[in-house]
Structure formats: structure tokens, C-alpha cells
């Protein structure tokens, strides 16, 4: 596993195995079977694990959404009671935001950033593994509450004092708070890791302004995470101390100000929404050029507008608090600041459209989702601009009009982008092409379903239906056939179509795994570095690290201008890859698997569990963590050369990680 000998040989070399024990345990050595996954530090395996887990949580969050829609399909719904409904929308949002979109983006980042910048792994492979396990255990921990007396029921922004122990006596919010703390650790370690990777691990010649846009947008996202996660960490700690140790941070009777929570939450929360969307912006900025057969229009503008969004995104959080009673000065300032964000985002929309313009468009499923994003996200973005007008927002806030806004940007934006990425990168990861025909159905059902579900919510909201209502009544639904009742039912039907659409994707995965088409080396005639590897990539990604001299390096290796200024193909993908193979590094030293990441991560939910039920359990968890940390600290991340059986020579060793 750890050392790869002579990669060019067609046979996969049997990896040498570390023999001695440096930590408290012998190093794990399996290269197959479950152990090869559980103890892996390979960014690609971790990427797959992140994504697979996220997909699972998507289904969970989606089922919760469908229950919400069934409850609201008719007046005075009886599917859920008030208590369950409140848990349902809280957990739906939590699951979708923290356990689906964020980790899915982290999965793609993990898998593709090293490939896109020409690296063999991330900067800190073991931290990477730890991050995944922390996310997984955190996610399971939050959802455990369903079986331990009820899940969190305060809404995803968990406003105090409604989230305090008096008003939410079940343990749901305790699980929520501590679970998010754990997934927060995962995000933070991930951010440190990926930023370091992008800044430090680029292939020779891969200047910042030659980096693929996906990597760029992820870089911005990781910076947002780096600085936003600690803010919610503070908020969650204050809430935990109030709920579990009797502090009074949000208890008005003791003189607290409930607006403190709102500020802390949204200082995190607004950057968070860009954390959710920018990865998808990155994906479609890769996909659109490939299937337009021309470079991304205005690459530097897209880069800088991404950075600008990340930056301005810090100055607008109070637009979620226009009705909170901030006073007119704050409201006016934040209102105008919020409008400013539409400008860099508009730059992106313009550039995508201009990328299509004059191209030679091929409508693969990935491309369809990308184009879908442009239109649907713009609808959502524009309703966002109508919220940013503070006086209007006082009519809109906490109605379904807001729900419409954020589902358009999240579903039509973030999720369409991710789906575009799935179809685009599937052959890279699994070596097989997802079925395009089924994919087309998948796409259209999702487009129709999503517009049917969330489109009417604009109407519902503007006609006065508040959000977070477990029932609505005919009395406030208005007259006529097309009253709010009609649109509620319509939206619920839409959500079922949406479900079928998503289901088709799952079916597509199964069909593809069973008997999907083996992907050619370069199925899309792609442009960036991740395609300059085999499908799926070898464990060490590149036989030799390419030297980069262009944006869209791969394209420029395949195509050159002829005498008339026409682009003509000069090499096939196979030839390009062959060149890399011919110069293969003889002896590549990859980071070795480790037990410690999962052990440390396992300690975290134990500590959290103890904080809710009994402190001694926390101490046990603390001991597990400490034990793991020590094992980790004395185990070298890459097994040294004399730790192999038989020992290898150190000559020509290429270190990674």
C-alpha cells in the first residue's frame, strides 16, 4: 500500500507492507476488503466515502422533505403532529445543509483537488481521514436523537430562547448542538488541509491563475469555512453550556439579549450559504467549457468574483434579521450591502452565458444540469435581491417566499451543480459512464419537479403563508380555485415528481454498476488535469507529475493551433497519458494507512454523549481521544523505508503528503 514500485508496469505491483509497529498497534496493511477503506488515508477513497455518506443523508433529508409536503398537501394535515413536524423541518434542513451539501462538496474537493492541481494526495492525509470519520460520526450522532426521545425542534437556525432548556425540554437540541460541533471539527480540519494542499501541493507551473475554477472556488469555500466555523462553534458552546450546565447566555430573565444568538448564527450562516453554492459554481464552470468546446469566458473575472462573493459575504449577515428590531441604521446598511453581492454573482452568470455563446454545445446530462443551474439559480438569486430590499423583506421574511428563494438557490443551484458533477466525473471515479438516457429523464423530472414544488412557494409566500407551520387552514387560503390550497397541493405533487427524479439517479447508479458502459479514457474531451489520469486514477494519481504551462493544460496538450489559427487535435488522450507514463517516477512513496484517525473520531461522539447523559462517559471519550492522539503523534504519517518488508532503498523515492 505504501510504496508503489515502478508504476508503468501494466501489472499492479504488489505493495510492500510495513512490518514494525511504531504506534501502539501495527500499521494496518490491507489493500483490499473493508479494512482498506476504514483505515485508508487515500484522498480518493475518502472522497468516495464522503460522497456516498452524503448521498445517503440526501435520501434521509429528502424523505423528511416528502413527509413535510405530504403533511401540507391538504388543510389540517394529519400525517405528522405538531411536535414531529417541527422536528421534521429542523432535521430536514440540518441534514440537507450539514450532512448532504457540505460533505458532498467536501467529497468532490477531496477527490478532485489533488487531481486538478497535479498532486498525489492532500497535504495532511491522516487529518483528511479523521475529518471524514468525524463528519460521519457527527451525522450519526445528530440523527440518533430520533431514537432517544425526539430530534431537535427549534428550526435550523435554532433561535434562542426557544432553543433553551425550558422551551425545548427533549434532548434533541443537545444532540443537534454537539453533533454539529463534531461535524464542525471535520469542516475545520478539512479547511486547513485543503487550503494547505491548494497553496502548497501544486504541480510545477500550476500557478494560481492556471488553477481550474473548481479548485479556485473550493479554495474560497475552504477559507469561508476556516473563518465561519469557529463562529458557530462559539454559538453552539454557549447554547450547550446553557442547556447542559445551567448558564444563562440566552435567558432573558437574567438579562441576556436573544439577539446575540442571531448575530452569532448568521455571522456563520450567511457565509455558509456561499459555502453551499460556490462548489457548484465551480463544477459548472468546469462543465460548461468542456461541452462548449471553448475556455471559460473571462476566467479571471470568475475567479475574482468568486473571491469577492466570499469577501462581501461576511458583511451582510443581518439581512436575516431585518424584522428582528435592529434599528433603521443597521437595517439600511445591511440592506445595501446585501445588494452589493448581486454584482459579483451577476458576473458569474454573465460569464457562463458568454461561455455558451459562440460555442459548439453538446448537451450531455452534465451539461443539462449546468445550464439548468444558470437559469434556476438566477431565479433564486433575483428573489434574494427582492429580500435584500429591507422594507419589502419585512413582508416576505418567514413566509414561503423565502422558502422558495432558498430552494431555488439550493436545489436549483447547489444541487444541480452537484448533479452536473456526478454525471461529469462519474467515469473518472468509477471508470463507467452513467446512463445518459436515464440521466436525461433524471434531469427533466428534477427540473419539472423542482419548479412544481418550489415555484408555487413564491405565490404562497407572497399571498401570506408563513413558513414552519405544521398546518394551514382554508380560512386564510383565499378564494377561488387557484387559492393557496391549490398551490399547496400542487407543490406536494411536485415533490413526488422530484422524488421520482432523484430515484432515477439512484437507479442509474445501480444499473451503471451492474452493466454500465466502460468509459473511454477521455469520454468528454475534457480540458483539465484530473483527466490526465487513468479511469479510475491509480493510487498515486500521476505516474509522473506533469509540468503545467497553460490554463486547461490537458486541452492544450491535445489540441494546437494550426497555421490558419484553427484548433486541431494533435494528440489523443492516450498519447498524452503515455508520455506521463514514459517518464514515470520510479519509486513513489505514498502515505500509509492508519488506525488513529477513526479512533480519535470515535472518541468525539462518546464525549458528546456523556455531556448529555453523564460526565463519566465523557471522560471515557476523552481517554479514547487522547490515546488516539498519542498513537497518531508517534506514528510517522508515511512509513519510513526501513519499516518495510523487505526494506526498500531510499533512492529515487518521491515523497508525498
Amino acid at each position: 500500500m505504501a510504496i508503489i514500485e515502478r508504476p508503468p508496469s501494466t501489472e499492479v505491483a504488489t505493495p510492500a507492507t510495513p512490518s514494525s509497529s511504531l504506534g501502539a498497534l501495527k500499521r494496518p496493511v490491507s489493500t483490499t476488503g473493508w479494512k482498506s477503506w476504514v483505515f485508508t488515508v487515500d484522498h480518493k477513497k475518502l472522497g468516495i466515502m464522503y460522497s456516498a455518506t452524503a448521498l445517503f443523508f440526501f435520501i434521509v433529508g429528502g424523505l423528511e422533505a416528502v413527509l413535510i409536503r405530504l403533511q401540507l398537501a391538504a388543510p389540517n394535515g394529519k400525517v405528522l403532529n405538531a411536535d414531529l413536524y417541527n422536528q421534521m423541518f429542523t432535521m430536514h434542513a440540518t441534514t440537507m445543509v450539514f450532512l448532504f451539501v457540505m460533505p458532498m462538496a467536501a467529497g468532490l474537493a477531496n477527490y478532485f483537488i489533488p487531481l486538478q492541481i497535479g498532486a498525489r494526495d492532500v497535504a495532511f492525509p491522516r487529518i483528511n481521514a479523521f475529518g471524514f470519520w468525524a463528519f460521519l460520526f457527527g451525522g450519526i450522532f445528530i440523527n440518533l436523537s430520533w431514537f432517544m426521545g425526539g430530534a431537535a425542534d427549534g428550526g435550523w437556525f435554532m433561535y434562542a430562547p426557544n432553543s433553551g432548556p425550558v422551551f425545548s425540554p427533549s434532548h434533541g437540541i443537545d444532540f443537534w448542538t454537539l453533533g454539529l460541533q463534531i461535524t464542525g471539527i471535520a469542516s475545520l480540519t478539512g479547511a486547513v488541509n485543503l487550503i494547505t494542499t491548494v497553496l502548497n501541493m501544486r504541480a510545477p507551473g500550476m500557478k494560481l491563475m492556471r488553477m481550474p475554477i473548481f479548485t479556485w472556488m473550493q479554495l474560497v469555500v475552504q477559507f469561508l469555512l476556516l473563518f465561519a466555523v469557529p463562529v458557530i462553534t462559539v454559538a453552539l458552546f454557549l447554547l450547550s453550556f446553557q442547556r447542559n450546565f445551567g448558564a444563562t447566555f440566552f435567558d432573558v430573565a437574567s438579562g441576556a439579549d436573544p439577539l446575540l444568538w442571531q448575530h452569532l448564527f448568521w455571522i456563520f450562516g450567511h457565509p455558509e450559504v456561499y459555502i453551499l453554492i460556490l462548489p457548484s459554481f465551480g463544477v459548472i464552470s468546469e462543465v460548461l467549457p468542456v461541452f462548449s468546446r471553448k475556455p471559460l469566458f473571462g476566467y479571471p473575472f470568475v475567479v475574482f468574483s468568486g473571491a469577492a462573493i466570499g469577501f462581501v459575504g461576511w458583511g451582510v449577515w443581518a439581512h436575516h434579521m431585518f424584522a428582528s428590531g435592529l434599528g433603521p441604521v443597521s437595517v439600511a446598511v445591511f440592506s445595501v450591502a446585501t445588494m452589493a453581492i448581486a454584482v459579483p454573482t451577476g458576473v458569474k452568470v454573465v460569464n457562463w452565458t458568454m461561455t455558451l455563446w459562440g460555442g459548439k454545445l453538446e448537451f450531455t446530462v452534465a451539461m443539462k444540469f449546468a445550464i439548468g443551474l444558470i437559469v434556476l439559480f438566477t431565479i433564486g438569486g433575483l428573489s434574494g435581491v427582492t429580500h435584500s430590499v429591507a422594507p419589502s423583506d419585512t413582508q416576505q421574511t418567514d413566509t414561503y417566499y423565502i422558502v422558495a428563494h432558498f430552494h431555488y438557490v439550493l436545489f436549483g443551484g447547489a444541487i444541480f451543480g452537484l448533479f452536473s458533477g456526478f454525471y461529469y466525473w462519474w467515469p473518472k471515479v468509477f471508470g463507467k459512464l452513467l446512463n445518459e438516457k436515464l440521466g436525461t429523464w433524471n434531469f427533466w423530472l428534477m427540473v419539472i419537479g423542482m419548479n412544481m414544488t418550489f415555484g408555487p412557494m413564491h405565490i404562497l409566500g407572497l399571498q401570506g403563508q408563513p413558513r414552519r407551520m405544521y398546518v394551514w387552514t382554508e380560512q386564510r387560503a383565499g378564494e377561488g380555485f387557484f387559492n393557496l390550497g391549490f398551490w399547496n397541493t400542487f407543490a406536494s405533487i411536485g415533490s413526488l415528481i422530484l422524488t421520482v427524479g432523484v430515484l432515477l439517479f439512484l437507479i442509474n447508479i445501480v444499473i451503471t454498476a451492474r452493466n454500465g458502459k466502460i468509459a473511454p479514457l477521455d469520454p468528454w474531451n475534457a480540458r483539465s488535469l484530473e483527466w490526465m489520469t487513468s479511469n479510475p486514477p491509480k493510487e498515486h494519481n500521476f505516474d509522473s507529475i506533469p509540468t503545467v504551462s497553460h490554463l486547461d493544460e490537458f486541452f492544450h496538450r491535445k489540441y494546437q493551433e494550426d497555421a490558419n489559427g484553427q484548433m486541431v487535435q494533435v494528440k489523443t488522450a492516450e498519447q498524452v497519458l503515455k508520455e506521463l507514463e514514459d517518464n514515470a517516477d520510479a519509486h513513489i512513496h505514498m502515505p500509509s494507512p492508519s488506525y488513529w484517525p477513526i479512533i480519535i473520531a470515535l472518541g468525539l461522539p462518546v464525549i458528546a454523549f456523556g455531556m448529555i447523559y453523564s460526565i463519566p462517559i465523557s471522560i471515557v471519550g476523552g481517554v479514547i481521544v487522547l490515546f488516539g492522539v498519542y498513537g497518531w503523534a508517534i506514528e510517522p504519517s508515511t512509513a519510513p523505508d526501513d519499516d518495510f518488508d523487505p526494506p526498500t532503498t531510499t533512492k529515487d523515492v518521491v515523497h508525498v503528503g
Partner: protein, 99 residues
């Protein structure tokens, strides 16, 4: 960002230099504590803030080598610092903390 400077090992300061800096820091601390006993009038707050910032910057620049190290580190750290200052100051301002 692509400067090939090698990390901090070779440069930095002599041990005597570090001791000197520590002495300065100690002196400032003494002054700070003095404000508690002596009435500085309207100068009190600004003086205290300036001393705090000076101490902060000195430790970060010299003990933590930021002054000698790659600019990237400075950039990353101060980005976090100024972001924190900015958002929290604005948040406190909405509570009329400064007025």
C-alpha cells in the same frame, strides 16, 4: 506567493534580541498595570489600547517570526484577525455597545 524563500530556520534573531524584546514587553505590561493605579484621564483608554496592540504585534512579529517569514503567513493570520475585528465590532455596534 511562489517565492522560494526557505522557511524560518536560518533567520530570526539572536537570543539576546529575544531577551531585549521580552524586556520591552515586560515594561509595557508594567505601564499597563500602572494605568490601574494612576489616573491618566482621557488618555486612559487610547493609551491602554495602543499598548495592547503594540504588545500583540511585537509578539506576533518577533516571537512568532511573522516579520521574517513568508508574507503568506502574515496574510492568512491577519485576514482572520481583521475579519474577527470587523464582524464582531459591527455586531457589537448593533447592540449600541460603543455609544
Amino acid at each position: 506567493m511562489t517565492t522560494e524563500t526557505h522557511s524560518s530556520t536560518e533567520h530570526g534573531m539572536s537570543n539576546a534580541g529575544y531577551v531585549k524584546i521580552a524586556l520591552i514587553l515586560a515594561a509595557i505590561t508594567a505601564l499597563e498595570v500602572a494605568t490601574y493605579y494612576v489616573d491618566f484621564g482621557p488618555l486612559f483608554m487610547p493609551a491602554l489600547m495602543i499598548m495592547m496592540v503594540v504588545k500583540f504585534v511585537v509578539v506576533v512579529s518577533y516571537f512568532m517570526h511573522l516579520k521574517f517569514d513568508n508574507k503568506l503567513f502574515t496574510w492568512v493570520f491577519y485576514a482572520g484577525l481583521f475579519l474577527a475585528l470587523g464582524v464582531y465590532a459591527v455586531a457589537l455596534a448593533t447592540f449600541h455597545f460603543f455609544s
